[in-house]
């Protein structure tokens, strides 16, 4: 009896060990490896990331991955990254579906590093997921370029290997205050309604400080849960004489907020919202989208050229905006959004750093990233290197768009800020 | 005097379940409690052992006021009971059922001690060979015995028996009666509710009769059987009346 028990223990224990070896819970076979065309002397680096193929970030994440894949295709198509010592580096990727869930992200990044031996990492979409993956990258000493992750807080945790390609959240809506004061110099009061997540909170905290510094009174400052569908309680709290309403969060909730503001016939001079307005899909709101201002990491209409780079004395790198847009359209049959550009740029950042480092060694590439200061079709790229905010994007700036009606009465977005790159001038909300 | 009940009153909403019930139970006595259905007999048990709190009145057990005490405290003072509708702890074995009684009863035994005691009381009710069976698998008569064994294992001073004979066949009734007598021999006082008239009349030292929550008669079995008020109370129930008159 006893011997039987002991044997039993070991059989079961063994099977558990095997279980934890062979079937890590939640591992997805959705992984796909894009093998580069075989080249004799080529060395291949693996870039690992997760993508929200399902879940709430599905739309934005897909664009980001499209951008990244376009970059890979171009790099490998051009024969790889050629280093000074003659080595040719090809890139391959390895990715899993994170279902927009944080617990999966951490599991999968650990797997990417340990099992799939990823050399470099790209972040998932959204600040929340990136935050989760950045810990892992740093824990295992891997460089991670973040895309679609604007929240400042990720870069204030003492990480040394995480680099941001987006303009940080703290500079997301401050320009909207400038626009407001330009349009309506007498503006006094603004209301801020924001999603209660890392990204939007970081945005509005900085926004509030900036607005108050500019002499505005923040009459309402409230956060809503990520899944909120009913904004009436918030809208009802907006004082009647408010000059601007700012805030929002991600695409779905911000669109709903814009719609309900319209349905409630809120009168104000300006509505500036996060993330959603630059998306082409925002036009589906119809009249509710008109006059809404949004900030964008990049707009096809915005102009960064080799000439402008030369004028500022910064090195130009990569394709021009037109080349990128045309290549993207050819491959995916749709217009690129700023999320697409973000994915592409994340790849470019790696490419430039590897070239300058002349190696794929983590420490050397890190040094190259720390020293980076380049101009691309997406704008300037330069990272903070201090211990308090290492990796934070310093070079890149936002552009602001506004939905306006063209001559046929069709809604279309125009770049309105900075004035240098503007395609139309901003206007004050029509009374509605 | 082991149990004194004074002026006990219990209402459920508009229903007067017990009104001013007063009686004593002497040490070593078997006191029978009869009455038509719905007379409040089980309610009286529930008030005595703390399942319900009375609106008015007092219960004292071995000189201690136990009115309104929760049922587990009452049990620990040495007052055990069985249920009219048997309530075995289905998933536990017969022995474990009885061990609960021993562990949490008056003497608060350890598990090991309780196991020994449990076998003793199972032996007393004739269930020893079923100790390892799940209690849910017993038949009604065995379940009744199990209830009894569980109550006994608590080593109570006073035992409240709620219709332990109901649903048993004549030979089972006879052997259960023997068991009850044997319990009394061990010095345990008994208050028992019973509908099997012949049995209760023969085993009880005294009888209480409850009708609509009021105590209408107290006394020796013969006295009670001939009490006109009692006969009248049972008239609504011709069957009962017949049996009572046949006494």
């Amino acid at each position: 009896m006893k011997r039987f028990g002991v044997g039993f223990v070991f059989v079961i224990a063994l099977s558990f060990i095997v279980a934890s070896l062979s079937a890590p819970p939640g591992a997805t076979a959705a992984a796909k490896t894009v093998k580069p065309a075989a080249a004799a002397a080529a060395k291949t680096v693996t870039i690992g990331f997760t993508a929200s193929k399902t879940g709430k970030f599905n739309v934005e994440a897909t664009r980001q991955i499209n951008g990244l894949h376009l970059w890979m295709e171009q790099v490998n198509g051009a024969g790889g990254i050629k280093l000074a010592d003659g080595t040719v580096i090809k890139v391959a990727d390895k990715f899993y579906d994170d279902e927009s869930k944080k617990e999966r992200v951490q599991e999968l990044y650990t797997k990417l590093i340990n099992t799939d031996k990823a050399d470099f990492l790209i972040s998932p979409y959204s600040s929340g997921l990136t935050d989760a993956s950045a810990v892992i990258a740093q824990q295992y000493n891997r460089i991670m370029i973040t895309a679609g992750a604007a929240s400042d807080s990720t870069y204030k945790k003492g990480y040394t290997l995480v680099y941001q390609s987006y303009t940080p959240a703290s500079r997301y809506l401050t320009g909207a205050v400038d626009i407001l004061l330009k349009l309506a110099p007498k503006a006094k009061k603004i209301a801020i309604i924001h999603e209660n997540d890392k990204f939007a909170t970081d945005v509005v905290k900085a926004l509030k400080i900036y607005a108050e510094k500019k002499g505005l009174n923040v009459a309402l400052f409230e956060g809503y849960d990520s899944g909120t569908a009913d904004f009436a309680p918030f809208i009802n709290k907006i004082p009647a004489d408010v000059d601007a309403i700012m805030g929002g969060g991600h695409f779905a909730d911000t669109t709903t907020l814009a719609r309900q503001l319209y349905e409630k016939k809120i009168n104000t001079k300006m509505i500036a919202l996060l993330v959603a307005p630059p998306e082409p899909k925002f036009a589906e709101l119809g009249d509710a989208c008109i006059s809404v201002v949004g900030s964008s990491q990049w707009e096809p209409l915005a102009h960064f050229t080799k000439e402008s780079a030369a004028k500022e004395g910064i090195t130009w790198f990569g394709p021009t905006g037109e080349e990128f847009i045309n290549a993207y359209k050819a491959k995916y049959k749709e217009d690129p959004s700023y999320h697409s550009a973000g994915g592409y740029v994340a790849g470019m950042i790696l490419q430039d750093a590897i070239m300058k480092a002349g190696s794929t060694d983590t420490a050397k590439v890190k040094a190259a990233l720390d020293a980076m200061n380049i101009m691309t079709f997406y704008g300037q790229l330069k990272f903070a290197t201090g211990p308090k905010d290492h990796g934070l994007q310093l070079g890149h700036d936002m552009v602001y768009i506004q939905w306006q009606k063209d001559k046929q009465g069709k809604a279309m977005k125009q770049v309105v800020w900075p004035l240098a790159g503007a395609t139309a001038s901003a206007f004050v909300c029509p009374a509605r | 005097m082991i149990l004194q009940v004074y002026d006990l009153t219990k209402r459920f909403g508009g229903l007067q379940a017990l009104s001013d019930v007063t009686f004593d139970l002497h040490t070593g006595e078997i006191l029978g409690l009869i009455g038509p259905n719905g007379a409040g007999k089980t309610t009286l048990f529930n008030v005595i052992n703390g399942v319900y709190t009375p609106e008015r009145g007092r219960v004292s057990f071995r000189g201690e006021d136990i009115t309104g005490l929760p049922s587990y405290d009452v049990a620990r003072l040495g007052l055990a009971r069985t249920h009219q509708v048997v309530r075995p702890l289905h998933e536990l074995t017969v022995r474990e059922n009885v061990m609960v009684g021993a562990c949490y009863g008056r003497e608060k035994h350890s598990l090991k001690e309780a196991r020994r005691l449990a076998d003793g009381s199972l032996d007393k009710v004739g269930l020893l060979d079923r100790g390892d069976q799940p209690s849910g698998s017993l038949n009604v008569s065995q379940k009744k015995r199990l209830e009894l064994a569980r109550a006994l294992a608590a080593r109570p001073y006073l035992l409240l028996l709620d219709e332990v004979l109901a649903g048993l066949n004549p030979s089972e009734i006879a052997s259960m009666m023997d068991t009850v007598r044997a319990i009394r021999e061990d010095g345990i006082s008994i208050l028992m509710i019973e509908h099997v008239m012949q049995a209760i009349m023969s085993i009880s030292d005294r009888i209480l009769v409850l009708d609509y929550g009021t105590l209408i008669a107290t006394g020796a079995p013969e006295e009670v059987a001939n009490n006109p008020q009692v006969i009248e109370a049972y008239l609504g129930d011709p069957n009962m009346t017949a049996r009572l008159l046949a006494e």
Partner: protein, 322 residues
């Protein structure tokens, strides 16, 4: 027979001992990560089982203790600079304390009412923490990366965390066994079968239930701290996920409620199944539906769970599988 002479006591313990020990010896990161997830599931399910399996009280919001404990431990660790071990115990104690307070009130409710109340408590706690500034409000808290240096850098820190979790899981299993096979546990089983009858037999149900609630809340608090330390941050949305509560219930039911082995088998089985379904090309999109269908089949046809079923059908294993 003393406790340490019983195979039923040793079986779960040795399994986890050998398993965790092997992971430590092999020292492979991926293996540690999956073992972490599995051990955490075992620990949580076993803690829940102490309440659910022994008293029959269905706590649908048991994750609240994981969340509150995790938050408190995390706060002690990152804001107050406590060491990991002390923080984890602190988190556990807070969970236990809250359970004591809440239990005194809520455990008066029976059956579905109790289940509903636990859901309400979880939602209220989540909403409260979202508004509680010391705990970082809606955006939560994070560990500054330098905190890992205390444990010799991130790598060793993660191994330390794993070791704590491993030990905690074994403690939960021991606690689960000891509770079940004690006089106290017998009282709990009596409450599970028939609370009123148990009270009539002298079982102090309110006190016993509250103590059990406290015990079963302590461990999730400890585990929560370890988990969120490993993650590096904590947010209300992650800490109070109702679906994790229900997954815990499913694991207990799958393995067999009221047994010591059940939650262990159930947790590993459930996580393995989930992993399998997620990787299977056919069920990838339907994993939730397939898991639901399996749960339904178990509830309808094998309510005793795997371990319960084996115990009932194979006499020889009754002494081994507790």
């Amino acid at each position: 027979m003393k406790v340490w002479q019983k195979p039923g006591f040793w079986l779960p313990l040795v399994i986890v001992l050998v398993w965790g020990g092997a992971v430590l010896l092999i020292h492979q990161d991926t293996m540690r990560e999956s073992a972490f997830v599995l051990l955490m599931a075992v620990g949580l399910a076993s803690s829940l089982n102490i309440l659910l399996g022994y008293t029959g009280y269905v706590s649908f919001g048991h994750i609240v203790f994981f969340g509150l404990g995790g938050y408190t431990g995390f706060y002690l660790l990152s804001e107050q600079g406590w060491p990991l071990f002390a923080s984890a115990i602190g988190g556990g104690l807070l969970s236990a304390f809250i359970a004591g307070l809440v239990g005194l009130a809520v455990l008066r409710l029976r059956g579905a009412y109790f289940a509903l109340a636990t859901i309400g408590i979880n939602e209220a706690a989540r909403a409260f923490v979202s508004n509680f500034e010391p705990y970082g409000g809606a955006t939560g808290m994070f560990v500054n990366f330098s905190a890992y240096q205390k444990y010799g850098g991130p790598g060793p820190a993660l191994w330390t965390t794993f070791t704590f979790l491993w030990i905690t899981t074994m403690v939960v299993l021991v606690a689960s066994y000891l509770v079940k096979h004690s006089r106290f546990g017998l009282g709990l089983l009596a409450i599970r079968e028939d609370e009123d009858a148990a009270m009539v037999m002298g079982v102090k149900a309110p006190k016993a239930k509250t103590i059990t609630y406290v015990i079963s809340a302590f461990f999730p608090g400890v585990i929560g701290t370890l988990y969120f330390f490993k993650n590096g941050n904590i947010e209300p949305g992650d800490a109070f996920q109702l679906h994790m509560s229900i997954e815990m219930l499913v694991m207990v039911m799958l393995g067999g409620m009221g047994t010591v082995m059940g939650p262990l088998v159930g947790a590993v089985g459930y996580q393995w199944l989930r992993g399998y379904l997620l990787t299977s090309p056919i069920f990838k999109d339907l994993h939730l539906a397939v898991a639901g269908a399996m749960l339904l089949v178990i509830i309808l046809f094998v309510p005793a769970g795997l371990v319960g079923w084996v115990r009932n059908h194979v006499q020889r294993l009754q002494k081994v599988l507790e």
